[in-house]
Assembly symmetry: C2
Homo-oligomer: 241 residues x 2
């Protein structure tokens, strides 16, 4: 069965965490909204034309009759099927907790450029975005990145991964966070590799995996851009403290 991924066309956004897992596993999937008539097909779900199968927002995954909404829910579902999480319950629950922490961080990244209202443009909330970004770079990035670096360090398997002795979907998502931060805040992230060495090593390892390398070089990988979550607005960037 071909997995159907539904997410906005034109940006990596939250869909990217799912794409990376599907690509790493070499899974059979279609990125529906990037195909012909895909966006109206997606919006039919959002607008409730499939009854109770009405996700609040993309991304969602269709697998046969099953609709799975929210990134962390999708990865929790796909993880065992794609071999991207250890199979025991404790590891699955632990990985899911990490992915939910990643989801919280992603929302904070979004709010650096939209601190007041998602219904208004960034240009209408620039001073507030500058203040929020400054707090984000000073307090939140170190809090989250130190945490993830330490999770890798504390992994009893000493595998260099977040969970268990091999690659998991959590590692792929951490790669995306590291890449996204470097895109959005290149000045502030200047010392990333020194500050978070285990995260940096994991990022490099993920980037070089054959399926990921091929994906990143393909047209399926959209470039970071200013429609996504990670946006490069030079005025929000600053030198490390």
């Amino acid at each position: 069965m071909t997995y159907e991924l539904y997410y906005w066309d034109g940006l990596q956004g939250r869909g990217e965490y799912v794409r990376l897992a599907l690509e790493e596993a070499g899974a059979d999937y279609v990125d529906v909204a990037r195909g012909d008539r895909g966006t109206p097909k997606m919006m039919d779900y959002i607008h409730g034309r499939h009854g109770h199968d009405m996700p609040f927002a993309p991304p969602f995954l269709k697998d046969g009759d099953l609709i799975v909404s929210h990134v962390a829910n999708i990865l929790h579902y796909l993880g065992p099927k794609l071999g991207l999480v250890p199979e025991d319950e404790k590891s699955r629950i632990f990985a899911h907790g990490l992915q939910l922490t990643i989801a919280d961080f992603v929302m904070e990244v979004h709010d650096t450029h939209h601190p007041i209202s998602t219904n208004d443009y960034y240009e209408d909330q620039k001073p507030e975005a500058k203040a929020r970004s400054a707090a984000f770079l000073k307090h939140r990035v170190p809090k989250f990145m130190r945490y993830f670096n330490r999770i890798i360090e504390a992994n009893p398997s000493k595998s260099g991964h977040a969970v268990g002795d091999g690659l998991s979907y959590v590692d792929l998502s951490l790669f995306q966070l590291a890449e996204g931060l470097a895109y959005a805040f290149p000045r502030a992230m200047r010392n990333f590799d020194g500050d978070y060495p285990r995260l940096a090593k994991l990022r490099d390892e993920v980037r070089q995996r054959p399926n990921i390398e091929a994906y990143l070089a393909s047209k399926r990988r959209l470039a970071f851009n200013e429609s996504g979550i990670f946006r490069h607005y030079p005025e929000l960037d600053e030198d490390p403290a």
Copy 2:
């Protein structure tokens, strides 16, 4: 086995969604941080003194050797054990997606009083909080509440619940959202019952369930207050549009 819930003492916060499920089910649990020496015991986990079992933040649940972090992860885990979600996979995944939408909304509620930085006081970001609250009340509350009202309406079982033909943990969380919004924004929520009749009916039904009624009247239920997620700052409230 007694469940151990770890959450900050003195506020409902995110712990409340878990407490409501445990209370409704009459489960055997302790609210660790509200007991003697409980907060240091909780902080040992957060500070990494249990190795890899290091949640990013409370709440987390301990069940034997298992640590489950994040509200939605906890409820996904407890749901079948407490009889608070239908047992089939499709319903469990659907309920989890709804709970993750609730988690996103809770973060938006939090940011109404902390739009710039969680490291600063509300008093240091009042004009921004007013702007964010106005957008929240105008756009986000209707978007989310209409969605949940419609989910109840679209439930094929026509049970008046969000998922399946009986009460689930999602319903308990929706009750908490309705109560919290009424506490924080009493003026703006004046028309809540008329605008979202199915949500209002569900709220009333949950409030009258014997175990919930007993819980709400007990000392275990903390009052809403200005340390929590839902805060009543009259200057952020306003009349319905």
